[in-house]
């Protein structure tokens, strides 16, 4: 039987572009607004301050962003369910408090302590998930309660005003050390190779099922664009950015870690049954339930993933600061939510990807970094970030109306 209904893969490059424009107009904008604002902000700040585009500031920006980016990606898993985790920041704080007590006080191997911290995060996520999914308490309330409670727990664990230096060089290295030049290139090569293989694999499976593929030139164009941007970034970071005699160069170690989490998380959301069911529950829980999806289980796992990834963002933060404080993670969580929303993850649930949250985090970090360089008073920074957030949420609400307005 011949199949006559299209799938969006048909047509030449021009037709594909037209179809893409139509989707954007129809409200499926994805990361487009945040990517555009990244460009605009970069040009703006570059014009206003010559230091903004230096290698030194660029590396700085990446490490500044990493913590926020990881937290925003963590939150995507629960925001996709139209839930929220206000305790993600302090959860990472509690896990890191446990970590520092294990390494510093009890002198346990740092690897075991990291695993313990991640397990601690996972357990907290399961706790939140149980109350939200099984008992039915709104996630806003459960996590607000934990947000308050865990601040107390952090104080109890680390003492009033407690601050502990991180003695583990491997942890300090994440944010403060760089890959050797050749390893930056090797990582880029591996990344491009994996992307290419994945693309060819997908095309192969489609072809075997007798389906049309998008023009192959489109795939090559995308890969080349990614390769060129990636190569430019590695080249810039591999130059010496030190202002003293000691050379500093190379891709910060945190970059490959964050990109690997982004890659694996995206595979989980896009290509596994769990990911599909997560989106389904976020879009219409009742429809998901009637299709036989175990909604409670999906919700609990989502909270567990969120809290675990939040712990990784806590590790990044501790590495950057070089210490674990009793107040860690308190201030950042709302910025994390803001980053996800600015990137195009819908608070209504069911719409958004990890890359959106990553792009949103970059936007917020660039605003922070750029305004700081221009030397405006600190208050302006919050005003601008807040304005961007409201703008992004408005875009989300409007595009949501538009995409369901076709009825």
């Amino acid at each position: 039987m011949s199949v006559t209904i299209g799938s969006g893969h048909e047509g030449n490059v021009r037709e594909q572009l037209t179809a893409y424009k139509a989707r954007v107009k129809g409200g499926e904008m994805g990361a487009l607004p945040s990517v555009l604002s990244l460009f605009v902000l970069t040009f703006l700040f570059a014009a206003l301050n010559p230091y903004f585009l230096t290698q030194g500031n660029f590396a700085n920006l990446l490490t500044q962003t990493a913590t926020l980016m990881m937290l925003a990606m963590a939150l995507v898993f629960v925001i996709l369910l139209a839930e929220i985790d206000l305790s993600a920041g302090v959860t990472s704080g509690v896990a890191m408090a446990l970590f520092i007590i294990m390494t510093n006080r009890w002198e346990i191997d740092w690897r075991i302590s990291i695993v313990a911290g991640l397990l601690c995060g996972m357990a907290i996520g399961a706790f939140i998930g149980f109350f939200v999914a099984k008992v039915g308490v709104p996630s806003f309330v459960v996590t607000l309660g934990l947000f308050l409670g865990f601040q107390g727990l952090q104080l109890a664990l680390l003492g009033d005003g407690g601050i502990y230096r991180i003695e583990v060089p491997e942890i300090r290295a994440i944010m403060n050390d760089n890959l050797p030049g050749w390893m930056g290139w090797a990582f880029l090569a591996i990344g491009i190779t994996v992307m290419t293989l994945l693309n060819f694999y997908d095309r192969g499976v489609r072809a075997r099922n007798g389906l049309v593929n998008r023009p192959i030139s489109l795939m090559y164009t995308k890969l080349v664009v990614v390769a060129v941007i990636g190569a430019a970034l590695v080249a810039i970071l591999n130059e010496n950015r030190s202002r003293s005699i000691k050379e500093i160069s190379g891709v910060p170690i945190v970059v490959p870690i964050a990109l690997t989490v982004l890659f694996l998380g995206t595979l989980l959301l896009d290509r596994t049954r769990f990911g599909r069911h997560l989106y389904a529950v976020g879009g219409n829980p009742e429809a998901a339930r009637r299709s036989g999806i175990k909604v409670i289980k999906i919700r609990i796992i989502a909270f567990m993933i969120c809290s675990s990834l939040a712990v990784i963002s806590g590790i990044f933060n501790a590495s950057r600061v070089g210490a674990v404080e009793a107040t860690a993670g308190k201030a950042i969580v709302l910025s994390g939510v803001a980053a996800a929303v600015v990137g195009g993850v819908s608070l209504f649930g069911g719409r958004g990807r990890l890359i959106h949250a990553a792009a949103g985090a970059l936007v917020i970090a660039i605003i922070d970094n750029g305004l700081g360089l221009i030397g405006l008073p600190a208050g302006i920074n919050f005003l601008v970030t807040g304005g961007v957030l409201i703008l992004a949420a408005t875009v989300d609400a409007v595009s949501r109306k538009r995409s369901s307005g076709a009825r």
Partner: protein, 251 residues
């Protein structure tokens, strides 16, 4: 004409909620390849009868025969395992997912640990093509962008994809405009022609006469008439529905 075994046969079905007898000994049959309309006023017991068949709410008494064999329907899963699919009025689709994703929701095709999107896409297209659906341009469209009629189409096609032997449609045309109603009714006809037994619940007698082969009329928990749509007319059915006429009057 219908000497074959019915797909589903209900004999003496009863159901009560506390002191209220909602179903008072219903006999009902549906045949493969035929559209059976279930009509009746509000409170006649249509929903209760359907919920029992769907496995959502068990009957108190009576016998359910599926393909000639007596069966129990304790859960929706049990009903689905037999090949009974219900398309509810609210359709239960995820707007944020596309047509293929919705049609395979909860029973995704896998390739190792990853989703086999191409296989699902192929089978979804095949099913829609098999039902001669021409109103959707791409199976990768998000359901949010579909019209009411197109959504109904997707929901019906999903039940076909699940190899349903009996598809129950709850008010499929209630919220649709004229053109879309026409499309959905055509689809229902083709569904039956493909060998599926279809039960359609509707308040709209115009639609019923357009698509149904048999008409079963419920009145206050009793089956008051089993008619062939070719042998009756609008007025008769209305009289049965309102209780101003019973089966005995016909003879």
């Amino acid at each position: 004409m219908t000497s074959q075994t019915p797909i589903v046969e209900l004999i003496g079905i009863t159901k009560s909620f506390g002191p209220v007898d909602v179903l008072k000994g219903i006999d009902f049959t549906a045949y493969a390849g035929r559209v059976t309309a279930l009509v009746g006023d509000n409170g006649a017991g249509k929903s209760t009868l359907i919920k029992g068949l769907a496995g959502v709410q068990e009957y108190d008494g009576g016998v359910v025969k599926f393909e000639g064999k007596e069966v129990q329907l304790p859960s929706a899963r049990a009903a689905a395992a037999l090949g009974i699919e219900v398309v509810y009025q609210d359709l239960a689709l995820c707007e944020n997912l596309d047509i293929v994703q919705n049609m395979f929701l909860g029973r995704e095709a896998m390739l190792g640990i990853t989703l086999n999107e191409p296989q699902m896409e192929f089978e979804a297209s095949k099913t829609l093509t098999g039902l001669s659906v021409r109103t959707v341009s791409s199976v990768r469209q998000k359901v949010a962008s579909l019209s009411g009629g197109q959504r109904q189409t997707v929901a019906i096609a999903r039940s076909v994809l699940r190899n349903a032997k009996l598809v129950i449609l709850d008010e499929p045309t209630a919220a649709l405009g004229v053109a879309q109603t026409e499309q959905v009714l055509n689809l229902v006809r083709r569904l039956a022609d493909s060998g599926v037994a279809v039960i359609i619940i509707s308040h709209n007698l115009q639609d019923v006469f357009k698509v149904a082969d048999d008409i079963a009329v419920l009145y206050l928990g009793k089956m008051v008439a089993n008619l062939k749509s070719s042998e009756t007319n609008h007025l008769d059915v209305v009289q049965y529905i309102t209780g101003s006429r019973t089966m005995g009057d016909q003879e």
